[in-house]
């Protein structure tokens, strides 16, 4: 596992240099934090380069860290090399004031609905997406419900007082 981390890291560092911000091993996954604007180039390189061959997009999702000033939002991409059974995770971070991320739909068609879902939940704008609109929630919803500032229930409710154990 450690080999995979250093191998991919060396490859990426040689090609993209400064765009690879950090790399670490999170349990069974090598994780790379990369530059937001380079993410598509990096993923297509990981896909096309014969020695790497990460040709399958497993999943992607956004995460909100409201206390992390300057990098409130994160996106996670998980790639899989099916023939060799290698998995890696890529992460990008960006501020709430600028939630524009380049779209992955040109590399993986599967990214289409995944990106729409993250737009729907977090309001992340995927630049160049062919059909960026809400997918699971109603079209006229005027907020992004998965952001941490939106409570699960209506905040004005008074019939459910649960001071003792929190909710």
């Amino acid at each position: 596992m450690e080999n995979l981390l250093t191998f991919v890291n060396d490859k990426l560092k040689a090609k993209f240099g400064e765009a690879i911000i950090s790399s670490s091993q999170e349990r069974d996954f090598p994780v790379f934090v990369v530059e937001r604007n380079k993410i598509i180039e990096i993923i297509s390189y990981l896909k096309e380069e014969a020695e790497l061959g990460f040709g399958f997009l497993t999943t992607m999702c956004a995460v909100h860290f409201p206390d992390n000033t300057g990098a409130e939002f994160g996106m996670m991409y998980q790639l899989h090399n099916l023939p060799k059974n290698l998995r890696i995770r890529l992460k990008i971070f960006f501020p709430v004031s600028d939630v524009i991320v380049p779209t992955l739909t040109g590399v993986f068609p599967a990214a289409n609905w995944m990106e729409r879902q993250e737009y729907d939940f977090y309001g992340i704008i995927f630049k160049g997406h062919p059909n960026l609109k809400r997918i699971l929630n109603v079209d006229d919803m005027d907020y992004f419900p998965m952001r941490k500032e939106y409570p699960l229930e209506d905040g004005t409710r008074e019939d459910k007082n649960d001071k003792m154990f929190g909710r």
Partner: protein, 404 residues
């Protein structure tokens, strides 16, 4: 362009297409899916799917619930095979907390999971029968799904939304009656499945109807993130049970069936073959369990696993643990973890970020249905409406998993 050609081109442009709303509730779609189809007679020219009709905000809900209260949410993902989802979730938390599960418990889980897989595939394949006009087979094999649900009932008391198992093991050992029912199923199912196959697999009408219907190439399927039987029908032998074994799957002998064309017939055959493999896995698991002494059904992790009621009343530590677990104050380490299992429809992944609090900081479900259903509009373009219905049912799109 000559004048004449211009007129022809304009004719094509002006051609009247009819718009057909297939769904949201339509008896032929087996679930709540809307597809707006642009039709030229009976040929689909363009399609757009709308999803989200039973969206229940599971990812948001999960951020507000203690870990063991998330299991009932996972029930409602793919409700045709709830135990698979339950086990996937338990294993994710166990991976995060570093809980080692005894072999016997792993095999018990394998039995439940494979039973669920059989139930899932039975529903899907028999519904393919219904959509080709063969109602008999559907009613016939549903008795076996009923038997499987009776086994669930013996295991955990529930049938559809099972909530089976706990973090750290199973909530109870299988009863003798449960084992007897499993044995009975393993005796009766092969015969029934054989008859089911006799009626369909070499049936001229069924073959004509399904071969070449809704095909997808391996390359496209990979691009669209297909997993599970649908990907294997296209010829890619990716199965999480073999690639990243969990819950002791590395100890079992089984074959991954693959197809070639990725059409409805191949998907049907892959599922059919997987049911035989699942039966063989259950048999192997029963043999293995017989060779393990003792009746252990959960790991020895008092901080995660509820103590027996008697101890709660009589022992101090048990009372403390009971209180902490019920109030959702388990000590979950910080970290992020991804765990995938082979669910009925493919790779069901749980991406979990924990900040050490009582609820997950972020929980993302990788739902196989959601990811592969986006290829549907492309797959049905240029086909007949009746083929579109068949393609959907053979892909086994489950609304609960699609919309989460």
């Amino acid at each position: 362009m000559t004048e004449e050609k211009k007129i022809i081109a304009k004719d094509i442009e002006d051609k009247d297409y009819s718009i057909l709303n297939l769904g949201p509730t339509h008896p032929a779609t087996h679930g709540i899916f809307q597809n707006v189809l642009k039709m030229d007679g009976e040929i689909i020219v363009e399609a757009e799917s709308t999803v989200g009709y039973i969206h229940r905000a599971f990812e948001k809900l999960a951020e507000h619930r203690p870990y063991n209260q998330i299991t009932p949410i996972t029930d409602r993902l793919n409700y045709c095979s709830s135990p698979l989802n339950n086990m996937g979730w338990h294993m994710t938390v166990e991976k995060l907390a570093g809980i080692e599960i005894p072999k016997r418990v792993q095999y018990l889980r394998v039995i439940v999971m494979e039973l669920a897989r059989i139930a899932d595939h039975l529903v899907c394949n028999s519904v393919v029968g219904v959509d080709t006009g063969a109602m008999t087979v559907f009613l016939y094999v549903f008795q076996f799904r009923e038997h499987i649900y009776e086994i669930y009932e013996e295991m955990c008391g529930a049938r559809l939304t099972t909530n089976v198992g706990r973090i750290g093991g199973m909530e109870r050992d299988f009863s003798d009656k449960c084992w007897a029912k499993i044995d009975k199923l393993l005796k009766e199912l092969p015969e029934g499945l054989k008859e089911f196959e006799n009626l369909l697999t070499r049936n001229r009408i069924f073959m004509d109807r399904t071969i070449g219907c809704g095909p997808i190439t391996a390359e496209k399927a990979l691009g669209y993130g297909f997993t599970g039987p649908n990907l294997r029908a296209a010829g890619v032998d990716y199965d999480v049970r073999v690639m990243n074994p969990y819950s002791g799957y590395e100890d079992f002998d089984f074959i991954i069936p693959v197809g070639t064309n990725g059409d409805t017939y191949d998907r049907f055959m892959v599922r059919e073959q997987e049911m035989w493999e699942s039966m063989s896995i259950i048999k192997q698991a029963i043999e293995k369990i017989k060779n393990i002494p003792g009746k252990v059904f959960h790991a020895d992790v008092p901080e995660f696993y509820l103590p027996p009621k008697e101890d709660v009343y009589n022992k101090m530590e048990a009372l403390i643990y009971h209180f902490k677990i019920v109030m959702g104050e388990m000590e979950i380490p910080k970290g992020e973890v991804y765990h995938a299992i082979e669910a009925g429809n493919g790779e069901l992944g749980f991406y979990l970020i924990s900040d050490g609090g009582r609820t997950p900081y972020r929980l993302h479900f990788r739902r196989p249905c959601f990811i592969y259903y986006q290829a549907y509009t492309e797959m049905i373009k240029g086909t007949m409406l009746s083929d579109a219905i068949l393609t959907m049912s053979s892909m086994n799109v489950i609304a609960g998993e699609l919309d989460a």
